[in-house]
Amino acid sequence: MRRVNLSPLIAMVYRQVKRWFSARSRLVSTVLNPLVWIIFLGLGWGSVFSASGFKGALPGIPTPPGLSISDLVQKYFNTIFGGVDYLTFMVSGMASMTVFLASFIGGISVIWDKQFGYLKETLVAPASRKLVIAGRILGDAIVTTVQGLIVILLGFIIASGLRIAGVGIALIYLFLLAITFSSLGVVIALKLSSVEGFQMIVNLLTMPLMFMSGVFYPFTTMPSWMQVIALYNPLSYAVHAVRYWLTGADVGLSPMTPLNDLLVLAAGATILLLTAGFAFEKTSIEE
C-alpha cells in the first residue's frame, strides 16, 4: 500500500466532514439560530434605525431650511452603520457570528471522543499528533465555513444591501476565524473531562465576545473600555472584514482595514493551531 504523508490529516478532515453530514440536526440548528437573531433583532431594530416612516416634525424643534427631519435622521443612521441599513449591517455580521459559535463549541467533540473511547484510537496510531489534531481542526473549519456561507446566502433573501461579488473573499476570513476558534475550543476541551465544564467555559466566553465584536452595533459608538476589549477580540476583525466585503460598509476601529484584518486572523489562527498541536502531543489517557 502507498504511504501518504498527509494521510492522517486527511483521515481527520474526512471524519469531521462525514460526522457533520450524519448529524443533520446540527445543521438545522446552526442555521436556525442566526435566523432567529436576524428576524427578531434585525427586523425589530431595523425599523427603529430608519427614518423612512417618519414624516412629521419633531415638537419644539424647528425644521432646518432645505432639509427634512427624516433626511437628517437617515443621514445620521447611514453614517453610524457605514452607509447601509441596519438589517444589512446586522446580517453581514451574522455569518461571522455563526462561524464563531459553531467552531468554538465544536471542541466539545474532543470530550465526546474521550468519553466514547475514540481518543485512544487516535492516540495509538503511529501518526504525527500535530497532523491528527490539525486535520480535526481543518475539518471543523471547513464545515463551519460552509455554515457561514449558508447564513450569507440566507442573508441575500432577507437583506437588500449585500453584494454577491464579495462572498468569495469573505469566506477566506470566515475560514481563518473558524481555524482560530476551533483550535481554541480544542485546546480547552483537551484540558477538561466533562461536557458540562466545557459548555460552562464556552458559554462564559461566547456572550461577551459576541457583543463586543461589532455584530449588533458598531464599534464607534461603543464605550471606550468596550472598544479596547473589542480590539483584542479576533471575532471583531472577521466581523469588520466580512461586512466590508459583503456590503462595502467600512465601520471599524482605527487598526481595522481589510488587510490588517486578514493579518490578525491569520496570526490568530496560526498561533492557536500550533497551541492545539502542542496540547495534543502532551495528551495522554491518564488524567
Partner: protein, 324 residues
C-alpha cells in the same frame, strides 16, 4: 523468538499501585493471555505495551524497540482492540475502517479492498455502510477486531475481547482468534477474566492479581501445580493449622477463608471417606464437601485463597475513567 519482553513493569497512578513488578515475554506466533480479576492491572499493562501510558519504572521491548523511547515504531507493529468501545458510532463500519487506515498512512484502492476483505472475515460485509450506532455489541466487537487487523500488524492485542458478549458472539470471536493464529501465525496478546477463554485459546497464561503475576505457564502446567484432584471441605468453624498435619495420603493441605479447607490429593474417591471420618472425629461438623479435577479456577483459588468468580462479582469494572 520473543516478540514482546516486559521487565519489572511498575505503574503507579496517583494513589493506586496498578502494576507492581510484572515481567513476562510473548513468543512469536503464540497466544499469550493475562488472566485475572477486575483491577488486577491487565489493562494498565497492555496500555503501557501499546505506548498509551508511560510506566513508572521497568521496560517494555516490542520487536527490539523500547515502548517509551520509540513509541512510533512500536505503534506500527501492533493492532489493538480496547476493552472499552472505541468506535465512532456516528459513522459507518466502512468509514471507521477507512479513517483507521488513513491514520496509519494507507490509502487508495488497496485500502478499500482490504477493508472489504476484513469486513467479510468478521461477517460484517453486508453492514459495511450502516451506521455503527445501530450495531449490536457483538457486531461492534467484530468490527473493532477487523479494524485492529487492517494494517496487518505483527502483534494483535485484545483487551477482554469477549466482555459482555452473548455465547454465540463469544464463540465467533474465539473462532477468529484461532484462525489468526493458525492461518496467519499472528502473535496475540490478550487479557481476560474468563477462565474458559484463557483455557480455550491461550498457549500460555499468566495469572495476574493485585498488580502481580502469581503464576505463569501453559494451562496444563498450571493445573499440574495442584495434583490430580482437589477436595474442598467447608467446616462449621475455622480449624487450626495443626489439623492439616493429621491427614495421610494428602499432597497439600491449606486453610482458606470461611472455614474452607483445600486438600490436594492423587485420587479423591479413595481418600475422601477417610478424610471425612478424621475431620468428624476431631469434632468438626462438615457443611459442604466437593472435589474437582483442577481447573484454572482451582489454581487461582489455590494461589490467592479467593475464587476468581467471586472476585469478579465483588467489584464491578471501573468505567468512564474520564469522569471524576
Amino acid at each position: 523468538m520473543d516478540v514482546i519482553v516486559v521487565e519489572n513493569l511498575v505503574k503507579k497512578y496517583k494513589d493506586v499501585l496498578a502494576v507492581n513488578g510484572v515481567s513476562f515475554t510473548v513468543r512469536k506466533g503464540e497466544i499469550f493471555a493475562l488472566l485475572g480479576p477486575n483491577g488486577a492491572g491487565k489493562t494498565t499493562t497492555i496500555h503501557i505495551i501499546a505506548t498509551l501510558l508511560k510506566p513508572t519504572s521497568g521496560r517494555v521491548i516490542v520487536e527490539g524497540y523500547d515502548a517509551v523511547k520509540e513509541p512510533g515504531k512500536v505503534r506500527r507493529l501492533i493492532g489493538i482492540v480496547f476493552q472499552e468501545p472505541s468506535l465512532d458510532q456516528q459513522l459507518t463500519a466502512y468509514d471507521n475502517m477507512y479513517i483507521h487506515g488513513r491514520l496509519y498512512g494507507y490509502s487508495g484502492n488497496e485500502l478499500r479492498k482490504r477493508i472489504l476483505e476484513l469486513l467479510e472475515f468478521v461477517d460484517l460485509k453486508e453492514y459495511a455502510f450502516k451506521q455503527v450506532k445501530h450495531f449490536s455489541g457483538g457486531m461492534k466487537r467484530r468490527l473493532e477486531i477487523a479494524r485492529g487487523l487492517l494494517t496487518n500488524p505483527d502483534i494483535l492485542i485484545l483487551d477482554e475481547p469477549t466482555i459482555g458478549l452473548d455465547p454465540q458472539s463469544r464463540a465467533r470471536v474465539w473462532e477468529y482468534v484461532r484462525k489468526l493464529k493458525n492461518d496467519l501465525g499472528m502473535t496475540i496478546l490478550m487479557t481476560t477474566h474468563y477462565l474458559d477463554e484463557a483455557d480455550e485459546l491461550a498457549d500460555r497464561i499468566a495469572i495476574m492479581d493485585h498488580g502481580r503475576i502469581i503464576a505463569m505457564g501453559t494451562s496444563l502446567e498450571l493445573k499440574n501445580m495442584l495434583g490430580s484432584d482437589v477436595i474442598y471441605l467447608k467446616l462449621s468453624k475455622q480449624a487450626p493449622e495443626s489439623l492439616c498435619r493429621e491427614f495421610n495420603g494428602v499432597k497439600d493441605c491449606r486453610l482458606l477463608e470461611d472455614g474452607l479447607i483445600e486438600l490436594v490429593v492423587e485420587n479423591a474417591n479413595k481418600v475422601l471417606p477417610e478424610v471425612m471420618k478424621l475431620v468428624m472425629e476431631k469434632g468438626y461438623e462438615i457443611r459442604e464437601v466437593s472435589y474437582r479435577k483442577p481447573s484454572l479456577n482451582e489454581v487461582f483459588l489455590h494461589l490467592t485463597g479467593r475464587e476468581l468468580r467471586d472476585s469478579l462479582e465483588a467489584s464491578s469494572p471501573p468505567r468512564g475513567r474520564w469522569h471524576r
